[in-house]
Point group: C3
Chain length 230, copies 3
């Protein structure tokens, strides 16, 4: 059922952050909460110096708007951990974003330190997500395996390093999109009254919690339990 309802969600979005009203609820972060708030952090010496346009950050912003997510906060910083870490800490610990997407700085040059900055703030790593991004990237270019990007949680904020190129960002968002309803939103949804009811057993092999559907109709607080009721 949850799989069937992707195209025909019936519940209106009514959360505080709102979203475009002409979009179906399941594209705005689910019916039982506000729109997902996304922090967009562009990491680039050249963009930060005004020498280049922030095309990748722009691509993420466009995706947020298109999906009904809220591009809640944005910044451009130069490469290097010194500039990145404080932004990640501020956005995550200050509750400014449910999801932080970085773009840039994941490569092999001496200035590429976004993964190290991310490691410095993550409480709980989710390397499967970083693996999935690279595998998808590999379909476009074999060099995608060189991305050193990380993914994981700080508190209930999911942080994901995307590659620096606009096309790499697009590929990464394609991977993330169906997963966001499961991973990040679950963390965000903790405060929602409906979250711990309606527990269902995941029928797949996922190790993460929550319902498998992306319609949000059966979102659960924690059913990553061996004895989840059927």
């Amino acid at each position: 059922m949850s799989g069937m309802s992707h195209e025909t969600p019936e519940m209106p979005e009514d959360g505080p952050a709102g979203g475009p009203e002409d979009r179906p609820a399941d594209e705005r972060g689910g019916p039982d909460g506000p729109a997902l708030r996304v922090g967009i952090l562009t990491v680039s010496d050249r963009v930060s110096r005004g020498e280049a346009e922030d095309r990748s950050g722009g691509r993420i912003r466009a995706w947020c708007v298109e999906r009904g997510y809220e591009p809640a906060i944005e910044a451009v910083v130069p490469d290097g951990t010194a500039a990145i870490v404080p932004v990640l800490l501020n956005w995550a610990d200050g509750g400014r974003a449910d999801l932080i997407l970085t773009t840039g700085g994941t490569g092999f040059t001496p200035r590429d330190r976004t993964p190290e900055a991310t490691d410095a703030v993550l409480d709980r790593t989710a390397s499967g997500l970083a693996e999935a991004l690279r595998r998808r990237g590999e379909q476009a270019t074999p060099f995608a395996v060189l991305s050193r990007g990380r993914a994981g949680l700080r508190g209930d904020c999911l942080i994901v390093n995307l590659p620096g190129s606009p096309s790499g960002v697009a590929d990464g968002l394609e991977v993330l999109e169906p997963l966001l309803e499961h991973g990040s939103l679950l963390a965000r949804g903790r405060e929602h009254p409906h979250r711990t009811s309606g527990s269902v057993e995941p029928s797949g092999s996922d190790g993460a919690s929550g319902s498998r559907g992306t319609s949000g109709s059966h979102r659960t607080g924690s059913d990553d339990t061996p004895g989840g009721s059927p």
Copy 2:
């Protein structure tokens, strides 16, 4: 040669612990040792409170019995590192199990801390194993990439985090089964007199030690050496 002998193990089981006599040797942990002793750790708030049945732990137990492994020790603990770490330490350092399989707590909710508890006790990580489990899981559900499960060694005890759902456990065991004869048993087999004889060069690209066959007929102590004799 070792590849050919999969189906026709010729050597009788003669280890101290034994196994079901009606099973071929290669299903009992190999001819030169006792059955693999498996520790089963169910991590679940609900199961630990008696609110849900431990279906995933039960699934692991059934698999052990079916394969001729020994479900040597079992426990159910609530989520969170505080309860998990002492059990892992006790079982691994106390020599209670050759392989510890956990189920549950690998997701994104605040209580999901099994990977962090596992990190805290591992001496040597085997992320390739965790990667393989996720890739197999992805065949069942795209959300499998959200599993944050770890794998690795503490001393000579292999610890693997499986997902929380019974179906996720089943998928994981399917991946592990052919590998166990290679990885975990090798560590366990250190004390066996036959272990360092009959060294063969791995003919595949595995970076791990030992023979490729699962019949145990050419198990070796350490042939992950560049100059292994052919």
Copy 3:
């Protein structure tokens, strides 16, 4: 062709900077720099004791010669972190090699500590590279997922753990070869005057820097920037 010539390297290695002049520039590390200098570290108790031939190290050396890379420095050490770490530090920090390839010690036996020794010296991990090596290895044997090999940078030196078997080494080199022009050479090329000119936007989804071509004609210092000019 490259596969056929493994056993018959014909060209003598002769100089620290140069490469065979009858090879095209793109097989010598690019037109704007000296040949890639490769450090070859064989990790094996048996080879270090003279009990086995260093076939895997020899395979790496032959590959270097064939590709126009310089096998700049080589060593054989016993298993265990104590012997490996000082060699990695010396070669990387002493500027002895642009790329260090280790072979052996990535498995599950108690002596297999090459990944831990590598972890101890890496500044920046590149787990996507290690993942790619395992996925390629899996095509040859399911046990490849047991390789615990690491990859990453210390300073501008790329260090990659290859499996211990000659066939595993060959598979690993096959994965690395097309990537080296992108990752490792980029780090090495920092001092080159041409490096920061001719920036191009990566057209694929790679998170790493530099041009996608292997001809070296558009190698760049850092174009992993979201606003790279088209």
